[in-house]
Subunit: 281 residues, 4 copies
């Protein structure tokens, strides 16, 4: 069980989302309300676009709530697009290579959920990867394998379609091993331009996922809120669970749905339908 | 807010108390029930008597629930007397020198609670220490200062009396700075022979503290419990909160009370009454 | 590049070998003399047999010279058989799952050296493992892969023969990928009863490896040395580089040689000859 | 023993100085040439001015050479003024609160060297601090005490004069305890506008310290070096030891000398003369 959030919009001091929001992601590392567990203290990660050729990554095995470096970075980095993930390990070791986001080139990837009976499927799934990617898997999580499978199946061309094939492949592999509901997931993906999010579980009950409402709606509902006055049309948040209890601020993303957030804050929704892919193919 | 436990009795594989008990101290690092917070994830420490001249100490800034080394040590160390502490930092940094237990010579010290407005009192309290001890304070917690004050005021001769003077000194110093209720505490102390525990708060509402009932009582209440059949008369546990919900197994230590556990499991109780000591004295 | 040592003999306080020897393994973490680099500061590990069902392991990503917990454990653990390894990472991440020794059941494994062009061979080598072991690989080092291959090829029945097959398999796999000299190694293996060590490199120039001379020889050469007076016939050390410069104390293990140390200190030498095994087989 | 460097000039990607220079500070963490020890592996720190109200700080107890987060930050942060420090601990614990730079408000402070017999002087020196600062000392190094003394004695008004008083105070305190040569130091100080450096030791033999030559000189000597073609007049480096062996690039700062680097790269030198201050005063 984990929690994640993504920001896409005006360049934003990262601490605004991590520390200065009422139930921000760092608070969720200690007091998650909608997760399987309230505590997500097995490391965390931050990936951000800004200076430099590709996104930066800061990952740590300390709980997010107690890491002074995260507080420093968040207070000194501005970014128009970033993802943060707080981790609750379920079996795999607490090490930086198991912390999200995962990165390849300009792409970042986070995941809340799991592959069921991953130890049964791990070998077959790793064999289904592009052999050229195999040696770059440095950790031992299911998520890293999902990411490399998605890269193998076209993530950089069409992320949602690639994830539909990836989930299809994992479900097929699961069935071959007697695992009925192989995938439990909310995924976050970014390439520096756009942001994608998927909510899907093989059993139909995926982890919670929300998108911020559009700015016009926010301003109509809360005309006096100074935070919303600073918001621009292009700002969009995707979160595992809402930062605040304000009604009208958050739209739940339905089960089996993918969303794309483009520059300017445009949010597109479409159904997410796994495409069966045989791991032998 | 923290949680601690101490074992005094037959040589015991440490994991029996840390991992194999239903609501043991490692479970309390994630799910404390009686503390101010359920999470005690800001490091932990284990001090044990056994091989070697003085007690051994293992301290880590990882949460106890996720540290593979703690699991290893607990599975491979037997000890007749050990203390474990899981920490919830309130302000001071998460670093090994702030993890309990603290040690000097053969003595170990743990604390659940705090000195109120410690930043106001820290200088005066450190000046009240034996100057020869001053340079050995390596961390920045209130507890380490309490320990060195207690050493200054006779801990190694009479631990309870020294703690009464120490608490008196802190309360006096507090009053001089306008701090009404300076001390909130349960303390644990050991020297390799005996174990002492104190429950005391300046405002009368100290953190919870329990002692295991004597073995005869346990056997009468649970004649069929295999765990209690292995227990001997000399076994005694002191815990911040009970490991299990079994009635009759745990005796609450009253407010403002000190207990001494001697070899053989004898448990003596006495009132704990702070003795005013001026920090100028 | 790394350094390791193993003790097999009378129960020994571990600090005697790690800290109290003139050029012990912890000193080698900072000042190795015979390695490719003087610094082995990318984590370390200790595996020891003693209390508990299987050997204990303590692994840390801190440099061995600066880890206070290692000093504590070494001062409080006695063991008749233990291995210690200090790591100089060459490419793979500094994480506990990449620290040696590796363990399975009662078996421990350490390695100084590398598989050349491991990123080219990693996939084929992991496919050659027993599929049931695949999901238990948690780190990303070449050594862990060597260990699981050796387990696949019979380590628990005949460790030297299994390592000959393992090295043969790696060399074959290397050749298939155009890697001429795939293996550079000194290996250490233990099962709680015996200790095995191998010195072998595909190019004929393996890392240094030494065994302590037998006790009779030591006493004849240094009749007045109190340390050697305490030594018994059954004590034997295997080390990457000698702890001291005393002549006559250390016997270099020749290239392409395997040694077995049995209880009582008996040391047997035999040639080490890789056996070609096809990874398809 | 430690090594540090400071950059003052055009906004610079930090990795240029840390990783892309031939003998940059990260290389010095493993292979220092002019220090008492080649290895500075007991943590490190980076302080930089840029986005945010005050300078950012990233400190870690990992060796600088092996910390993936440092590599990430260095590749994604640009700053016109930053300091980096790699640490070789001499006695005090390896913990983030003992890593340099230290910070107060807009001020950063680094130190290479030590206070002799610090354990004898620590109490008197901490008593000489402004009592309001006492509780903010979170670590246990001599350097943090020097910094808070300098703050007490006017660092924010006139850093060099304050350090002269601070060193004078420490030397006086040393003499009172029978310590002949109390201070061994190169200091680095910054406030976001200017950069100050001091080379001074009580015994006249302070650690090495160098400033980069001015850009005109560099271009005359190396007209074809592309790196120097990008340099501007305002760029200035202060380093414990030169990054490269190019003659004419580095000017040694003499013993008992303070330098000030102002915006535009102007470097002023003056003698550094400790001013006796009684700690009772």
């Amino acid at each position: 069980m984990c929690r994640w959030m993504a920001w896409h919009g005006q360049p934003m001091l990262i601490e605004e989302m991590l520390f200065n929001s009422p139930h921000g992601i760092v608070d969720q590392s200690l007091h998650a309300r909608m997760g399987a567990e309230p505590t997500n203290g097995d490391g965390f990660g931050l990936g951000w676009y800004g200076t430099g050729d590709r996104p930066g990554i800061y990952r740590s095995i300390q709980p997010a709530w107690g890491d002074p470096n995260l507080r420093e970075l968040a207070a000194h980095l501005k970014s128009p697009l970033f993802l943060t993930h707080v981790r609750a390990a379920i079996g795999s070791p607490v090490q930086e290579t198991n912390c999200h986001p995962f990165r390849r080139g300009n792409w970042l990837f986070v995941h809340n959920g799991f592959i069921a009976d991953f130890h049964l499927l791990r070998r077959d799934l790793m064999l289904a990867m592009d052999p050229k990617l195999f040696a770059d898997v440095h950790g031992s999580t299911d998520t890293e394998v999902v990411f490399y499978l998605a890269l193998t199946l076209g993530l950089m061309e069409d992320p949602i379609a690639a994830l539909e094939r990836t989930v299809g492949l994992i479900e097929e592999t699961g069935r071959a091993h007697g695992v009925a509901h192989a995938v439990q997931a909310s995924f976050g993906v970014a390439d520096g331009e756009s942001l994608w999010a998927v909510r899907y579980a093989s059993d139909g009950h995926a982890r919670s996922l929300f998108a911020s409402a559009d700015v016009d709606a926010l301003r109509r509902v809360y005309p006096d809120n100074p935070r919303f006055r600073l918001a621009t049309e292009g700002d969009r948040l995707i979160v595992s669970e809402p930062f605040s209890d304000l009604p009208g601020v958050w739209d739940e993303i339905p089960q089996a749905t993918a969303v794309t957030v483009r520059r300017g804050g445009v949010l597109e929704k479409r159904p997410f339908s796994p495409v069966p892919v045989s791991s032998a193919g």
